[in-house]
Amino acid sequence: MSSRQSGAAARLKKPRGRLPGGALAGAGFLLPGFLGFCVFYIWPFCVSLWYSLLSRPINGAFVGLANYFSMFVNPAYLKGLANTVRFIGVSVPANIALSLGIALLIRTLRRRRELFTLIFLVPLVIPSGSTVTFWKALLAYDGALNGLLAQFGAAKVNWLDSGLAFWMIVLIFTWKNLGFDIVLYLSGLGNIPREYYEAAWVDGAKPAQTFFAVTLPQLAPSTVLILILSIVNSFKVFKEIYLITGSYPHESVYTLQHFMNNMFASLNYPKLTTATTILVLLIAAFTQGLLRIERKASA
């Protein structure tokens, strides 16, 4: 015990040093969690990667990248992937722009900033299932929105069972997740030194100029992080799609997760594991690339 303490004390004076005592004590705390992390994440990831190279998991032949090639001619998979990418491509930039706008508005308030942040956080915290009935009643073919249109003599619109479903889901996702980005932008805005704005004001910069010359560049690190987290979070939209439109939605909102659910139903391991590996690689490449850009930008 005493050697461990003196080792740790010495470590504090020399933080970079490698002392057996500190390493040992640290390992004692680290190990249980790390073992669980390996068992439930790292190891099954490796198994999944291995399965994706086999024709089937038990007694399967090694087929190399054949599963991967077959994925890229699988129309259902391609549809799911394309929709997921399209969804991210539309909703993430929209979320970023809107949340920055709202964060800037909240910053101009002298009072009640907390209250308004709270309002935008509410959709984020309440479960998706609790508002499903509302969305359905609003957007159904015989729903309230079409009822409103009918009062103006307009024709009924198929909100959920046409290409429009995609935009409805973008809207619902934005409603649900905007608060997250707003909080991140508020904290980013709070970190910009006041002097920058004073300097810009002294130089006679117009508000628009200040925004583009001070605010936006200063927010770049926040924006990169919001971009990464929004992309990761955007996959959560499946909850809304599933709860509102069920297992068989309109093809414009058929996502990767729908494809994978079908593969789960038939337990098609080659397809499941290949789809997982591709997703892991895409996300890893994307987030690591963005993090690198962010580090370079802030260095």
Binding site: P32, V122, S130, K239
Partner: protein, 290 residues
């Protein structure tokens, strides 16, 4: 600074409008939960009644109205007392969420502390492994979850959802961010006094981390209270489902009590938000500190 003044006057109005739009689904769900089942049934259907036909109404739509014609707690009574299935499903949600909350907090605190005091050369590389897995969307983790659940023989049950939740990397990340911010002086002073690592962990680190702990608990709670994907894959028995999945089905069967059920269901996270807004915001901010 004319522009500034103008925008300052317009900002609250604009925000208020947007805020009302954001809260609309909640307000409707809330007020509708006090309607009678009859009123709900009448509002949320487009089927024509005999009276409609006599009135010459050819087409009807569902109506979303704000104010109940007759307000009362009928729906709540029905959901909480007369309809045992609702309580069973609510219990399912609790059974799934609470073990993850407790287990994940404990594991995350211990592991993060290990990372903080550990002097091993490769610990940063190890930690980046946590970050990479943390940044994976759920969809990328589901198949590995299924593989390990299958290997352990727990693939149709709560454990298949709870165990990966306990070891989820996000908590480790968040706790480590929080511990990094603690001043080294605390540790130093404690060590000078001859305190052991576990003593420091329990008596010095954990009490200092209250806000980060609250943040983690809230974010985990929101995540698991709103569980959908895992439930579809791992739970095939309808009576074992959490409310998060079932609520969308309740509406198809008995629309009459769905609003009260929704309100009961969204109340805990809503309440946590109102008391722990600062902590939740801190959690979100920390998750953004790469």
């Amino acid at each position: 600074m004319k522009f500034q003044q103008k925008s300052a006057a317009a900002a609250p109005a604009l925000l208020l409008l947007l805020g009302l739009l954001f809260l609309a689904p909640l307000i409707v769900t809330f007020t509708n939960s006090f309607m009678t089942e009859g009123e709900i049934a009448l509002n949320y259907t487009s089927r024509l009644t005999l009276f409609d036909l006599l009135d010459g109404v050819k087409e009807k739509f569902q109506t979303i109205s704000l104010i109940p014609r007759e307000a009362g707690l009928w729906q709540y009574a029905d959901a909480l007392i007369n309809q045992p299935s609702f309580l069973i499903l609510l219990t399912n949600s609790v059974k799934l969420t609470v073990p993850v909350l407790c287990g994940n907090l404990l594991v995350s605190l211990l592991t993060a502390y290990g990372f903080t005091i550990c002097t091993w050369r490769f610990k940063e590389a190890l930690f980046s492994l946590y970050v990479i897995v943390m940044l994976m969307p759920l969809q990328a983790v589901l198949v590995p979850n299924y593989i390990i659940a299958d290997a352990l023989g727990i693939k149709s049950g709560y454990l298949a959802i709870i165990l990966p939740g306990i070891f989820s990397p996000f908590g480790v990340f968040l706790m480590r961010q929080g511990m990094k911010a603690l001043p080294a002086v605390y540790f130093e002073a404690a060590r000078m006094d001859g305190a052991g690592d576990f003593y420091i962990f329990r008596r010095i680190v954990v009490p200092q981390m209250k806000s980060a702990i609250a943040a983690l608990l809230m974010l985990t709670f929101i995540e698991y209270w709103n569980l959908v994907e895992q439930a579809i894959i791992f739970i095939s028995d309808y009576t074992k489902e959490p409310l998060s999945v079932y609520l969308s089905r309740i509406a198809e069967g008995r629309v009459g009590l769905v609003f009260a059920a929704s309100c009961v269901y969204m109340f805990p996270p809503f309440w946590f938000l109102t008391v722990g807004q600062k902590d939740l915001e801190k959690g979100i901010e920390l998750s953004g500190v790469k």
